[in-house]
């Protein structure tokens, strides 16, 4: 598979960069102990409880333990973009029909938490909802499955995916941790039932949720993996303030936060707790964007949009913001250091990445003047989460101030924030593209036209861009893919100036050393079912 070859260097880089520092014993060495309830902190609450619809860690961290997936990343090797294992299936299938057919055999005897059996029909119903949701139902990952022609269940324990063309992106897309397997009966009764209810077949059963406070789960005694999970239960505590989350770990009221802390918090915790804290770090397949509303004046003018990106000093920002926020690498729309990503010299040719920021800002001012927007004022909507949204949003406002643009910032909790994005009720918004398995060919689906993209909020329609994406996914030629990717980057970030990258994230997880069996990955979405986590207390 060509993609697999492409991913090897990225895997090596990611694996090399994943470091465990501190004084904790490596998790895999000791014999796991059963029992205990793990408490962890979550910085936000999800807009709904439906994994197919949402794109936020706020959903994954408290709710992933309730659900099963068809396949998942190897929990022992979550940094790998190519190492997948079965969850509900019994064996990873070999592609047939020239790479166009994948047949999955399912485990027998798997039950949902209400005692009903889980069959291939449930898997098919779940993937149909993800791949081709009915009108009025949101799926955040339609573009992941552009290669899928059909999904069917010839019997109760077999699922067959037929593809339109062979694609190395299919298996990583299937392993996306949001692809929860739902009950067909529940979906048939009400396709939106899972937005407000929980009923899966995962390692933990839902116990309770208190809005603004917590989600609790207890061990699923009928879980299909023998001797799992190790924990008796978990409690996810919501806390939007980073200082409180850090203090919760410091005071041992919580064992871990799975999203990530800035360097300062890591240093404070290590200093205060010594051997009681273990730090795992990794590059992060997550980038903070800002997106103008192309449907709204004056952002329908490409000159105004280009001016906004030209004002931003990303190279300087990387150096400075990495001291106070969870961001660092400079990159384009594709994961930095991936073979498909532009090299630094190529990136420096794209607007907003020019090495000379003064020249860049002079051009921004010229464009604004030409567009009659010298005194541009607008509101930046942002998500009310400290890291990195508030920090980067505040930094951006200062960058724009330097070309004479005045910006107000409006922070909204996750629910209202998404509501505004989805209804295009904004001038310019902070936006993000956080993906799970490193897979740039699909990860950039975020930037497609509004009717094609995964949560594409800019309101633009660009069929040339859509075709580039399609061509990239259909060709097996690496050189051609790289050429197309560079053209895609230039078109999104520069020529059409649809949406803009700020900085990529850097993941730092300091956790109590007694938490074992959990390994950091380049995504805060991966490896979160907690089946292998145990407490060394």
């Amino acid at each position: 598979m060509r993609l697999t070859q492409l991913m090897r260097p990225a895997f090596a880089l990611a694996a090399a960069a994943v470091v465990a520092v501190g004084f904790g014993v490596p998790p895999a060495k000791a014999a796991p102990k059963k029992g205990g309830v793990m408490t962890f902190v979550v910085p936000d609450e999800p807009p709904s409880w439906d994994g197919h619809r949402e794109t936020t860690f706020a959903l994954i961290h408290p709710f992933a333990p309730f659900y099963s997936l068809l396949i998942k990343v190897n929990p022992e090797n979550p940094s790998s973009p190519t190492d997948f294992v079965c969850d509900l299936c019994t064996e990873m299938p070999k592609p047939a029909d020239g790479g166009k057919t994948y047949t999955f055999k399912l485990r027998q005897g798997v039950k949902f938490h209400d005692g009903t059996p889980l069959t291939a029909h449930d898997v098919v119903a779940s993937f149909k909802k993800i791949i081709s949701p009915p009108k009025g139902v949101t799926s955040a990952r339609v573009a992941y499955f552009v290669m899928v022609d059909s999904v069917s269940a010839p019997d109760n324990h077999t699922v067959v995916f037929k593809l339109k063309y062979p694609s190395g992106a299919f298996i990583p897309a299937l392993a996306t941790p949001y692809n929860f397997i739902y009950s067909k009966a529940k979906l048939d009764a009400d396709i939106r039932w899972y937005e407000k209810n929980v009923m899966g077949s995962g390692p933990f059963k839902f116990v309770a949720r208190e809005a603004g406070a917590f989600v609790k789960g207890e061990r699923n005694k009928d879980f299909y993996v023998k001797d799992r999970p190790y924990l008796d239960g978990f409690e996810a505590i919501f806390s939007s303030k980073q200082a409180l989350r850090v203090q919760a770990i410091r005071g041992d009221r919580a064992a871990i936060e799975f999203r990530g802390f800035p360097p300062k918090s890591r240093d404070d915790l290590v200093k205060a707790l010594g051997k009681d804290i273990t730090v795992q770090e990794s590059p992060w397949n997550c980038v903070l964007l800002f997106t103008p509303n192309s449907k709204k004046k004056p952002f329908d003018d490409v000159r105004v949009r280009r001016a906004l990106t030209l004002a931003v000093d990303r190279w300087g920002g990387s150096k400075h913001l990495s001291q106070i926020a969870i961001v660092k690498p400079v990159g384009g729309v594709s994961y930095p250091d991936h073979p498909l990503a532009p090299k630094k010299a190529e990136l420096e040719q794209i607007a907003g990445f020019w090495p000379d920021i003064n020249k860049s800002r002079a051009e921004a001012k010229r464009l604004l003047k030409e567009a009659g927007q010298e005194n541009l004022k607008f509101t930046l909507i942002n998500r009310a989460i400290d890291q990195p949204y508030t920090i980067v949003g505040t930094w951006l406002i200062d960058q724009w101030r330097q070309i004479g643009v005045t910006v107000d910032q409006k922070m909204d909790p996750t629910g209202p924030f998404y509501a505004k994005l989805r209804s295009s009720d904004f001038d310019v918004t902070m936006d993000f593209n956080c993906q799970s398995v490193i897979n740039p060919l699909l990860d950039i689906g975020k930037f497609l036209s509004a009717d094609k993209g995964n949560e594409s909020y800019g309101g633009y329609t660009d069929r040339t861009l859509d075709k580039m994406f399609d061509d990239m996914n259909r060709t097996g030629d690496e050189a051609e893919q790289k050429k197309l990717m560079l053209a895609f980057e230039k078109r999104v970030l520069d020529e059409q100036a649809h949406s803009f990258v700020t900085l990529w994230w850097n993941r730092i997880i300091p956790h109590r050393s007694y938490v074992k069996g959990w390994k950091v990955s380049p995504s805060h979405y991966l490896n979160q079912d907690l089946a292998n986590v145990w407490l060394d207390k």
Binding site: A243, D268, K319, H320, I324, D398, R401, K410, P416
Partner: protein, 300 residues
């Protein structure tokens, strides 16, 4: 020449005795209410800071300076710098604008609406008064901050919505106090006379009753300003008030101030002092105004 002399004679020169009288009243106030005078000084300093912020603040309060992150207080940055390298002193000076704007606008609007409603309720009396007071009971059952949070959750964040959120809980509080004064006024013979002359309700309320409840109204306003500043700071601290990078004292206490509380405590200490001083100042001044305007207390 004659004309000039005539002009000079026609101009009303400031009455030296009036000026002296004013100063003597100020001196009297200071003697009677030294704490109130201290509060007034704090308020005057706040006003000067807010009005002349462009001249007083040595740095742009929103400009990032990454070469000066977390600098401790020094001659260059009197109150140190924050996590963006912004000058804390400059942000406090500009923050006075936010505090006074939110404090005065919300207090004045809230108290004014409360004044009219309170007097109206007392004037009409009977069932109108009964129903209206029960509605006020419902509003007053909620603590100020809870009420403000509820309003913010409906209208959203931002300076304008913070003013609305703070104004609404002030209305019933002012209406209740003003009503109690207005109940006594309603029974006065001149109100009966106004009714007998066939004056409209609005004329009686606005021209004959409202001017006579101005003392409790002014006392309420001065008391509200301090509360409003504290409330604005609380909402901003919770991330529900004004937003970054606007300089606002409560906002300065969250984010970096919490994260760097140990290594850079000045980020939190100075805005905390500013809030305390402002609330203390308005509280002392409000008490003094009450003492001055309340005849019973004055006679003591």
């Amino acid at each position: 020449m004659t004309v000039a002399a005539d002009v000079r004679t026609e101009i009303e020169l400031p009455d030296r005795s009036e000026t002296a009288n004013w100063w003597s009243r100020v001196r009297q106030f200071v003697r009677r209410n030294p704490l109130g005078a201290a509060g007034a000084i704090v308020i005057i300093v706040m006003f000067i800071m807010a009005a002349l912020a462009d001249f007083i603040a040595p740095y742009n309060p929103v400009a990032n300076a990454f070469d000066r992150l977390h600098q401790p207080p020094s001659l260059e940055n009197w109150f140190g710098t924050d996590q963006f390298g912004r000058d804390v002193f400059s942000r406090i000076v500009y923050g006075a604008r936010t505090a006074l704007l939110v404090g005065f606008v919300s207090s004045f609007i809230g108290a004014s609406i409360g004044l009219v409603l309170g007097v109206g309720s007392a004037y009409f009396g009977g069932r109108t008064d009964l129903i209206f007071q029960r509605i006020l009971d419902v509003f007053m059952a909620f603590p100020l901050i809870i009420m403000a949070l509820a309003v913010i959750s409906i209208f959203g964040t931002g300076a304008q919505n913070v003013i609305i959120a703070i104004t609404i809980p002030f209305i019933p509080r002012c209406a209740r106090v003003v009503r109690s004064s207005a109940l006594a006024i309603r029974e006065m013979p001149y109100i009966d006379a106004a009714r007998a002359n066939g004056f409209s309700h609005s004329r009686i309320i606005l021209r004959h009753m409202v001017p006579n409840v101005m003392a409790p109204f002014l006392i309420m306003i001065t008391a509200f300003v301090g509360q409003a500043i504290l409330l604005e700071a609380s909402l901003s601290y919770l991330g529900l008030g004004v937003q970054e990078p606007t300089p606002a004292w409560g906002l300065m206490l969250q984010g970096g101030a919490e994260e760097y509380a140990e290594s850079a405590p000045w980020i939190a200490i100075f805005p905390g002092i500013a809030i305390s001083l402002a609330v203390f100042g308005f509280s002392l001044f409000g008490d003094a105004v009450r003492d001055e305007l309340d005849p019973k207390l004055r006679s003591q």
